[in-house]
Symmetry: C2
Subunit: 321 residues, 2 copies
């Protein structure tokens, strides 16, 4: 049997793939060399999941790997018509980010309810100013995205006493934890009920630009918006106008149209907008967890067994069973 | 039957006691007039719970009200030898603050685990700097205080997957939610296990100055300290030295030796110290909830029924049933 070649896009820092020693040839590529090396690969590991290089390289033609694994939950950076039509199997990092992201969103919800940011600003000014804040328990959240990350967010918010409506692509009734998971068409009707609107959906043709003026106009003036999905789901200029116009109370973005966010972006200092650098799911040890997850799936690949976390390439995510 | 006189300490803002109209005479006092008016009162409502005036007034002698209710969980501001020895019944605001304080502490835990404060500082500087943060689930908390507030904090942290040890005055085994509630003597042994040490105990002779150098020295260098109890339980200078010396990682104080914290206090700008103005339990509508709670107990008082939330004046808190 010929040794498999595992091509890794990205090496800063490199994944720990020591378990492949003697079992596969591991070669690395960067954005510039990817297209040249792709025809030699049996397996492609998209370790640098911030790159669009796979889409470009795929279009160049030639032999293609039978399996592409991305060290991310979202697959929007790599899916392209050629990859969708090829027989190549795509898998993702489902299971690594859910709980950290859910904790992060719960923290943002409490931080906004309790005005931690106001207190911190007052601390800088050495001013003691008591305020009355909000109860989290009993408030209502609409979480857009009913995959594992959206569900984990919903579960964690429910544990804090928040009433949660999950919105997915299609309606699903009888969900043991959320009752009815609403179809995307129900979003308009749910928005006016929400104290918190959380975007945790995959970036697809359906969700691109979903959160724009029409959405923000339907939200309560006291409501807050949180995006932990992908930047292009939000029309950033519309969000800025909604915040500057006091049409919604606050927002937190961990993801952006352009990442890293340039230092001259106007988003850095919009009132009541919290900016963080796409880190909500990244807890200590996450890179090792991502490498282990790939290696476990590699064992299946080498043994001819079905892979875990197979993406439906036309939907753009791993369907919930 | 002579109309009862209800004396209210504090009137800024005044409680809504409309339900007493025609049933009791309501008179108000401030710190200066309290001693003069106390002998006329059947009931004293300590509405301004930040004042020490009751202790001073009680010592002046003369007839004393049969019931004192304080619009706070802690009774440290009013208990004094005379009040303890008199037959006067003391009740507190148990039930109003538990859930808001628990949410607040959970928010601080997540905010510190996810370095929200670091992200906010970087946002001010318009700098995109990804960091790896901590998982909350699986971390360990020691909550000092096993009354309703400590229990609510413990329950909320448990809902986030934190392993929680509660510490009370005496050991109690077989607790349905926490297993063994540890005796105060067990604290030294628990401190090195904790990622989070939370003070939610009543201020008593036993807890005054409890959190000093010896405690901070036993904590992990990576651990964080949170005080939502009362300021005098912490030796503030020792905490400052522990933070400046990197002996613990961070702290958050909502309560202080001196409140309001003076603008020239060194506490405002200690590295990794979060300061907030004694507001962790105060959600919108809290004053109305406090007034309603007093009025409900007043109905019992007027009917000769047992009062709710009766403080054990020698212990300094309402014993858990």
């Amino acid at each position: 049997m010929t040794e498999n070649t595992v091509l890794v896009l990205g090496s800063d820092p490199a994944p720990n793939l020591g378990r492949l020693s003697g079992r596969a040839e591991v070669i690395f590529a960067d954005e510039k060399t990817l297209a040249d090396r792709l025809p030699t690969a049996d397996v492609l590991l998209a370790w640098d999941f911030t790159s669009d290089a796979i889409r470009d390289a795929w279009a160049a033609g030639g032999p293609r790997p039978g399996w592409v694994h991305t060290a991310s939950a979202g697959v929007d950076r790599l899916l392209c018509p050629g990859l969708i039509e090829d027989e190549t199997v795509v898998t993702n990092a489902r299971g690594v980010f859910e709980q950290p992201i859910a904790e992060y969103v719960a923290g943002l919800v409490i931080a906004m309810a309790k005005d931690f940011y106001g207190s911190w600003e007052l601390q800088r000014q050495r001013r003691w100013r008591h305020r009355e804040t909000l109860r989290v328990a009993g408030s209502r959240a609409v979480v857009v995205g009913s995959g594992p990350i959206g569900r984990a967010i919903g579960q964690t918010l429910k544990a804090l006493g928040v009433k949660v409506d999950l919105v997915g692509r299609r309606e699903r009734t009888g969900d043991p934890e959320f009752g009815t998971v609403h179809a995307s068409g129900a979003l308009d009707g749910l928005l006016p009920t929400a104290d918190w609107v959380v975007c945790a959906a995959p970036l697809t043709d359906e969700t691109r630009g979903l959160f724009g003026r029409k959405v923000f106009d339907r939200m309560k003036e006291s409501a807050r918006f949180i995006n932990v999905g992908r930047g292009p789901m939000v029309i950033e200029q519309d969000l800025v106008e909604a915040l500057r116009g006091w049409r919604i109370a606050a927002a937190a973005l961990d993801v952006f149209q352009q990442e890293p966010l340039p230092s001259d972006s106007p988003l850095w200092d919009v009132p009541h907008l919290i900016v963080s650098p796409h880190m909500c799911g990244d807890t200590l040890g996450w890179r090792d967890a991502l490498a282990e997850q790939f290696l476990d799936n590699y064992d299946r690949w080498a043994a001819g067994e079905p892979l875990l976390n197979v993406v439906d390439k036309r939907l753009g995510y791993v369907p919930v069973q």
